[in-house]
C-alpha cells in the first residue's frame, strides 16, 4: 500500500483508560511511537478508515496496518515485538497462567468501566446498586491479586496493564459512589501505588483530579446534574 507511514502510531484520546493500556504497553517495551490525539466529536478520516467497524479509539497502526481493541493491541505489542524489545513478556509463557491472565483481563473489561459509568451517570437506587457492585468488583479483583506484588506475580504483566488505568478513576468512583478504595480494598490501593511508581504508568495515567473534572464536564454535556 503506497504512502503508508512506517513505524508505530497510536490513535487515542487523552483520558481513555483503554488508550492508556496501549501507551503503557508500548513504554514497557521501550517502543517509540507517534501519539495522535483524536477529536471524538469530529472523527478523523484516518480513524474512520482504520477502524471502520467500531470507529473507536484506541487504534494502533503498525506500518500503516491497523490493530483495534485495547487488549488485542496489548497482546499484539507483546507478540510482535517479543524478541526485538528484550523486555519481559506481558503475558506469561505457561498456558495455565496465560488463561488466568486472560480471564482476569476479560473480567476487568466486562465489569469495571460499565459499573463505573453507572456510578456517575445515575442517581438514587441505580446509583446505590452500582456502588454495591463496584465494591464487589474491586474486592473480587483484590482477591485475585492476593499477596502478590502484581496480578502477574513478581512481574508487572497483562492484567496489571489492563486494570491500572482505572486506578486514575478511583477518585471519581470515590466521590460519586462514596466508596473508599483505601478502606475497602487496602491491598488493591497498595498495588495501585506500586504500579504508579513505574515510569510507564506514571507517565501515561491521567491525574485523578483531571479525570474527575472531565466527568464533571461530561455530566453537564449530557444534562446529568
Amino acid at each position: 500500500m503506497a504512502g503508508e507511514k512506517k513505524g508505530l502510531q497510536l490513535l487515542d484520546f487523552w483520558v481513555s483508560p483503554f488508550g492508556q493500556r496501549c501507551r503503557i504497553a508500548l513504554d514497557e517495551k521501550a517502543l517509540p511511537y507517534e501519539y495522535l490525539e483524536q477529536d471524538l466529536g469530529n472523527k478523523s478520516e484516518l480513524l474512520l478508515r482504520s477502524n471502520p467497524v467500531h470507529k473507536k479509539i484506541p487504534v494502533l497502526l503498525h506500518d500503516g496496518r491497523p490493530v483495534c481493541e485495547s487488549l488485542i493491541i496489548v497482546q499484539y505489542i507483546d507478540e510482535a515485538f517479543s524478541s526485538s524489545s528484550g523486555k519481559p513478556p506481558l503475558l506469561p509463557s505457561d498456558p495455565y497462567a496465560r488463561a488466568q491472565a486472560r480471564f482476569w483481563a476479560d473480567y476487568v473489561d466486562k465489569k469495571v468501566y460499565d459499573c463505573g459509568t453507572r456510578l456517575w451517570k445515575t442517581k438514587g437506587e441505580p446509583q446505590q446498586q452500582a456502588r454495591k457492585e463496584m465494591v464487589e468488583i474491586l474486592k473480587t479483583l483484590e482477591g485475585a491479586l492476593g499477596d502478590k506484588p502484581y496480578f502477574g506475580g513478581d512481574e508487572f504483566g497483562f492484567v496489571d496493564v489492563a486494570f491500572v488505568p482505572f486506578t486514575a478513576w478511583f477518585l471519581t468512583y470515590e466521590r460519586y459512589g462514596e466508596i473508599s478504595v483505601d478502606k475497602e480494598c487496602p491491598r488493591l490501593a497498595a498495588w495501585a501505588k506500586r504500579c504508579g511508581e513505574r515510569e510507564s504508568v506514571n507517565k501515561n495515567l491521567s491525574p485523578p483530579e483531571k479525570v474527575y473534572e472531565f466527568i464533571g464536564t461530561l455530566k453537564k454535556k449530557f444534562g446529568i446534574e
Binding site: 503498525h62 497482546q75 495455565y96 486472560r102 480471564f103
Partner: protein, 236 residues
C-alpha cells in the same frame, strides 16, 4: 510441560452454545475428556468451587485446575496442546490480532444483541434485537471474505480456526432462530459466504459429533421463554 497426559474434564450444559465451543475445540484437537452435565438449577459443589466468579458453564478442568470463559478455554486448549492437530490461532502476530478482533466482535455484537431475543417480553424489543443481530451478521460476512482470503472457506483460511470455533458453537442456535422468532439469521440471499460456511462447517466430523440437535434447542428455548414469562407474571 504443556498438556501431557493430564486429565480433562468439561463441566457443561447441553444446550449452551458456549459449552459447544469448548467441545468443538477438544474434538478438533482429538483430546479425550470427561463431560459432566451440570444442573444449573442445582449447581454442584465442584462447579461452584471451579467458577466462583461467574458461576457459568463451560468450565474446563485440566489436572484439577479450572479454566473459565469459553474464549479463554479455547485459547487454552490451543496453547496447552501445541503439537496436537492444527493450531487454532495463526502464528503471525498481525493475523492473530485480526482473529481476536473478529472473536471479540462475535461476543460484543452478535451474542450481546442476540441474547435478549430469548428474554425480552415485547415483540418490539425482540424485533429490535433481531435487527441489531442481523446487522452484525452482515458485518461478519465481510469478515469471512477478508479472513478466508476471498475463498470463503473458513475464517481460519483452509482449515478451521479460532473464529470458526467461536461462531461454530452458536450454529444450532443460529438455525433455531428462524423457528423461534421468524427471522433467518444466516440467509443465503443476504450473506451467501456465511451460509456456505455454515453448511461446510456442519459437514465436519467434529460438528456432527458435537452440535446440538436444532429441534431440541428450539424446544429448550421455548420452554425457557415460557418459564421466564411465568416468573415475571408471578412477580407482577
Amino acid at each position: 510441560m504443556a498438556g501431557g497426559n493430564g486429565e480433562l474434564k468439561l463441566l457443561g450444559m447441553w444446550a449452551s452454545p458456549f459449552v459447544t465451543r469448548a467441545k468443538l475445540a477438544l474434538h478438533i484437537k482429538g483430546l479425550p475428556y470427561e463431560y459432566v452435565e451440570e444442573d444449573l438449577g442445582n449447581k454442584s459443589a465442584l462447579f461452584l468451587s471451579s467458577n466462583p466468579v461467574h458461576k457459568t458453564v463451560p468450565v474446563l478442568i485440566h489436572n484439577g485446575k479450572p479454566i473459565c470463559e469459553s474464549s479463554v478455554i479455547v485459547q487454552y486448549i490451543d496453547d496447552a496442546f501445541p503439537g496436537v492437530g492444527t493450531p487454532l490461532l495463526p502464528a503471525d502476530p498481525y493475523e492473530r490480532a485480526v482473529a481476536r478482533f473478529w472473536a471479540a466482535y462475535i461476543e460484543d455484537k452478535v451474542v450481546t444483541s442476540w441474547a435478549p431475543v430469548f428474554r425480552v417480553k415485547t415483540d418490539e424489543e425482540r424485533d429490535e434485537a433481531a435487527r441489531q443481530t442481523l446487522a452484525a451478521v452482515e458485518v461478519l460476512e465481510g469478515a469471512l471474505k477478508e479472513c478466508s482470503g476471498g475463498k470463503g472457506a473458513f475464517f481460519g483460511g483452509d482449515s478451521v480456526g479460532y473464529v470458526d470455533v467461536l461462531l461454530g458453537g452458536l450454529v444450532s442456535w443460529l438455525k433455531a432462530n428462524e423457528p423461534l422468532t421468524g427471522t433467518k439469521l444466516i440467509d443465503a440471499t443476504k450473506t451467501p459466504l456465511l451460509a456456505a460456511w455454515m453448511e461446510r462447517f456442519c459437514e465436519l466430523d467434529v460438528a456432527k459429533a458435537v452440535l446440538q440437535d436444532v429441534d431440541a434447542v428450539v424446544e429448550y428455548a421455548m420452554a425457557l421463554r415460557v418459564r421466564l414469562a411465568a416468573s415475571s407474571a408471578a412477580n407482577n
